[in-house]
């Protein structure tokens, strides 16, 4: 349910930016969502549909860009992309994988008119 709080932030940030630029409406919102951010993309879009009502972002479309995490195997040093925390190295099969990144939650840009 934290996706609803985040959806409210999306609406606030998009509407603030659009209003500052004198725009009448927000058409699209480009979001980067890390695959290890703990956010469910579907729930975020669902929350947005509720949070945008009555604002100039009411008819906006969400464009999601999934951002994977980075795994580095402590055994063989192989680097690979991740969409979950619990993984084995695809190279040597070892369980000790150092995880970084993949936690971004950011509005990259909006399109307005």
């Amino acid at each position: 349910m934290h996706e609803l709080s985040l959806a409210c932030e999306i609406v606030d940030l998009a509407c603030e930016t659009a209003a500052r630029e004198g725009a009448a409406a927000v058409e699209t919102i480009e979001l980067e969502v890390g695959l290890l951010s703990g956010v469910m993309a579907d729930a975020l879009v669902f929350g947005f549909e509720a949070a945008c009502r009555g604002t100039i972002a009411e008819d906006a479309r969400i464009e999601l860009e999934p951002v994977p995490g980075r795994g580095e195997c402590r055994a063989c040093g192989r680097v690979f992309s991740l969409d979950a925390f619990l993984v084995k190295c695809p190279g040597c099969g070892a369980a000790g994988v150092e995880v970084s990144g993949g936690d971004v939650l950011r509005i990259k840009a909006i399109t307005v008119r």
Partner: protein, 231 residues
């Protein structure tokens, strides 16, 4: 796209760069809380767990152990009721209850308001008892020095792997209700392994809020963290 103003050239649409973090507002409030705690040499700990793991019972005994030596204040987060804040005050610490209503987690702004009401003493320990939920509170920095995840032995050995975000965000895991182990098929060593699989740096303390077993390790851990924030 138009090279002059960034408009799409059709029906006057323009693309505007935003580049803003969705958690920026919370991160700002958390940084302010962290600065407040640092200035006063206060250790703030964010206690997170599923409902019923024994967070409030652990706090009651911790407050009793610290009575007369370490000032303790507690921020109690629950969706509804002031029951837990009343329990904490009966145990001898100052408490403020935050009811999140339909909300599933505390955020840094709620904690800032609660701290303003509590006005904790310099050098004290502030426990923030988060809403019982192993999912959402993992994402929200409250300005604490550390997250302490509590798991009771009745919850199963693989809890950390089922809820990796929380156990990854935590520095310490308290394994509670160890008096029930003889009645359960739960091996605390396997629970530790599950925690280390998602967070290789996670520390563990087994304890029992009912009997006090393991509390000396927990109080030592708090003492170490207090010395760290006191610089």
């Amino acid at each position: 796209m138009c090279g002059d103003c960034g408009c799409s050239g059709e029906n006057g649409s323009r693309r505007l760069a935003v580049e803003r973090d969705l958690l920026a507002a919370n991160a700002g409030a958390a940084a302010a809380n962290r600065a407040f705690f640092a200035e006063r040499g206060i250790l703030a700990l964010n206690l997170v767990s599923s409902p019923g793991s024994g967070k409030t019972s652990i706090l009651e005994r911790t407050i009793a152990e610290f009575a007369g030596t370490v000032p303790v204040a507690v921020i109690e987060g629950d969706q509804q009721t002031a029951n837990d804040a009343e329990r904490i005050e009966r145990a001898g610490a100052r408490a403020v209850q935050v009811n999140t209503g339909s909300g599933c987690h505390l955020d840094a702004r709620m904690v800032a308001d609660a701290v303003a009401g509590l006005d904790p003493a310099p050098g004290s320990v502030v426990f923030i008892e988060n809403v019982g939920n192993l999912v959402c509170p993992a994402m929200f920095d409250l300005g604490e020095a550390a997250k302490v995840a509590i798991v009771s032995v009745t919850e199963g050995e693989d809890k950390p792997e089922k809820y990796p975000y929380m156990f990854r965000a935590a520095s310490l895991c308290l394994i509670n209700k160890t008096d029930l182990l003889p009645h359960l098929d739960c091996d605390p060593a396997r629970l530790r392994q599950s925690g280390l699989a998602v967070n290789p740096g996670l520390e563990f303390i087994e304890l029992n809020a009912k009997t006090g077993q393991g509390f000396s390790s927990w109080l030592d851990w708090i003492g170490r963290e207090r010395r760290r924030v006191a610089g």
